[in-house]
Symmetry: C2
Subunit: 275 residues, 2 copies
C-alpha cells in the first residue's frame, strides 16, 4: 500500500499521488523501476539499488533527473513522511514521460514511492515453499522493466497448483522466479544462474556471505541438474532467503529446508540486524 510519494520534484500524500494518463509508462509500458526496503528503518544497500536503477534507466535511454545524493535525500525524507514504525518498501520509477503523439519519448516522469512491506509469513521461512515452472524468457531480462504481465496472468494457475512463486525456465535452463533469484546446493557447492536474469541485490549479498563457507558457481543450470539439487532457495528484497522444498512435482532433498540454507539465512539476519 502506498504511504507517500515524491513525484517530479514534490512530495505527495498517497491519495494525491497520481500521474497523467498520457504517460508512456502507462500507455506503452516504457518504464523501469527498482525496489528496496528498510531494516531498522534504514534503507538496506541503497547504493546497490541506486546503481541498478541507473543501469536500467540507461538501457531505456532515460535520464534520471536527480543526482545520486539527491535521490538518497528523497529516500530519507520519504522514510520520515511515511510516518510508520514498521519497515517500509521504497520504489523508484522512471517513465518515458507524456508523449504528445502517444509514442515519442518526452521529459521523463520520475517518482519515488514509500510503500508498506509485504513479507512472506514466518511459516514459509520455516517449512519452505513450492515453485511452479513456466517456460518464459523475459524481454531484456537484465533490465528491471515494468513488464510483469506474464507473472500476473498466471497467478491464478500458480495458486491453484499450490506454488508460492513461478520459476522461469527457458531453452532447458533454469533462470529466475518472477521477482527473485534462485540458488541450488549440490552438496556444499552453491550454484546460481548468471545469464538472462535480473541480478538481485540480495543475490549479491548471499554470494558475499558464502565466501570462505561454500564454493560458489555462477553459471547455467540445466533443468536436469536442478532435479539433482540437495537444497534450494530463492532470494529477494522482501523474501530475503526463502527455502524451496518442491519444484512442480519434484521434492528438493528430503523435502525440508536444508542445513546449508539455514546457515545462510542466519547469517543474512545478522547482516541486516547490523545496519
Amino acid at each position: 500500500m502506498l504511504l507517500h510519494s515524491y513525484i517530479n520534484g514534490n512530495y505527495y500524500s498517497a491519495e494525491k499521488s497520481v500521474i497523467p494518463v498520457s504517460d508512456l509508462g502507462l500507455l506503452r509500458s516504457y518504464a523501469v523501476f527498482d525496489y528496496l526496503r528498510t531494516y531498522n528503518k534504514k534503507p538496506f544497500r541503497l547504493d546497490d539499488y541506486i546503481s541498478r536503477f541507473a543501469h536500467s534507466a540507461i538501457a531505456l535511454n532515460l535520464v534520471i533527473p536527480v543526482a545520486k545524493n539527491k535521490l538518497k535525500e528523497i529516500v530519507s525524507v520519504l522514510c520520515d513522511k511515511a510516518q510508520t514504525n514498521e519497515d517500509i518498501g521504497i520504489r523508484f520509477l522512471i517513465t518515458g514521460g507524456v508523449a504528445s503523439d502517444g509514442i515519442s519519448l518526452s521529459s521523463p516522469n520520475f517518482m519515488v514511492l514509500a510503500e508498506t512491506l509485504t513479507s512472506p509469513s514466518g511459516e514459509k521461512f520455516t517449512n519452505g515453499v513450492k515453485l511452479m515452472t513456466d517456460v518464459y524468457l523475459r524481454e531484456m531480462p537484465e533490465v528491471k522493466t515494468t513488464n510483469y504481465r506474464n507473472a500476473i496472468l498466471k497467478q491464478e494457475a500458480k495458486i491453484n497448483s499450490g506454488a508460492y512463486e513461478m520459476l522461469y525456465v527457458y531453452d532447458n535452463k533454469v533462470l529466475e522466479t518472477t521477482r527473485n533469484n534462485i540458488f541450488f546446493f549440490l552438496g556444499d557447492t552453491l550454484i546460481t544462474p548468471e545469464k538472462n536474469i535480473l541480478k538481485g541485490v540480495t543475490r549479491k549479498v548471499v554470494i558475499e556471505l558464502t565466501e570462505g563457507l561454500f564454493k560458489t558457481e555462477r553459471r547455467d543450470v540445466a533443468i536436469e541438474e536442478m532435479k539433482e539439487a540437495t537444497e534450494c532457495f530463492i532470494t529477494g528484497t522482501t523474501k530475503k532467503i526463502l527455502p524451496v522444498v518442491q519444484i512442480d512435482e519434484i521434492y528438493i532433498g528430503n523435502g525440508k529446508p536444508g542445513p546449508n540454507t539455514r546457515l545462510l539465512m542466519e547469517r543474512f539476519e545478522k547482516v541486516v540486524a547490523m545496519i
Copy 2:
C-alpha cells in the same frame, strides 16, 4: 495530445486526467488498449474496435466495467466534449487496477481518451515510405497489450536509417510493423501474414475491399518472398493504406507506389467518405 477523458465513471478535462501511481498498468504493464479514429466526426468501425478491445481484455482476465452500448455512448460524449472541428482519435484502456501489494489484480481502472490525431504527411501517401526490419516477436501478439518498449527503444535507430516504420520479422517470417499490418502484391495476388500478428481493423476493411478485385491469401510470408513483392503497403488506423517502396536496402517493385495499391487507397477513401 489528450483532449478529454472518461475515467472510471466520470469525464475529465485533459489536465485533470490522471490515475494513481500504484496502478498495475503503470507499475507492472498489466493493461490492454485499443485505438480508433473518427471520419467526418463519426467513429469509424466502432463495433470492430470494441470487439477487439473486449477480446484483449478477456485475454488478460480483465472485465470491462461498462456494457457495449454504454461504451458507445461514452465515445459519443467524448466526441462532443473534445470540442474540435478536426477528426480525433479515441483510446480505450483497461488496467489491472490499484494493487495494495503491488502485484495482485484489483478492480480495473478503465478509461476512454479523446486525443488529437497524428497522421502521416500527404507526401508519404504519394511517394511511399521505407521500413526497417527488426527481429522481434511480440509477447501475446494477438492481444493489444501496452507493450511497445521495443518500438520506442529503437525509434532513434529507425529514424537514423531513414525508415518511417519498423517491420517485425521472426523465424524467417514477416509479421507486422510496430503498429500496423503489412500487405504484399505478387502481381495481382494480395498476400498478408495471418499468424503472430495483431489483426487490424483497417486490415479487415482492406480484405473486404479486395473481394472480386484481387485474389487474397492470408498466410505466412517468408522474408525471401517479401523480396519478390511487386507492391507493398501497410495498414492502420492513422496510416490508413500507406504505400511501402523500400524495406531495408531492398526496393519494392520499381521503388514507387504501384497501381494496385493506388486502387485500394482510392476505394478506402470512398469507404471512409461514406460514413
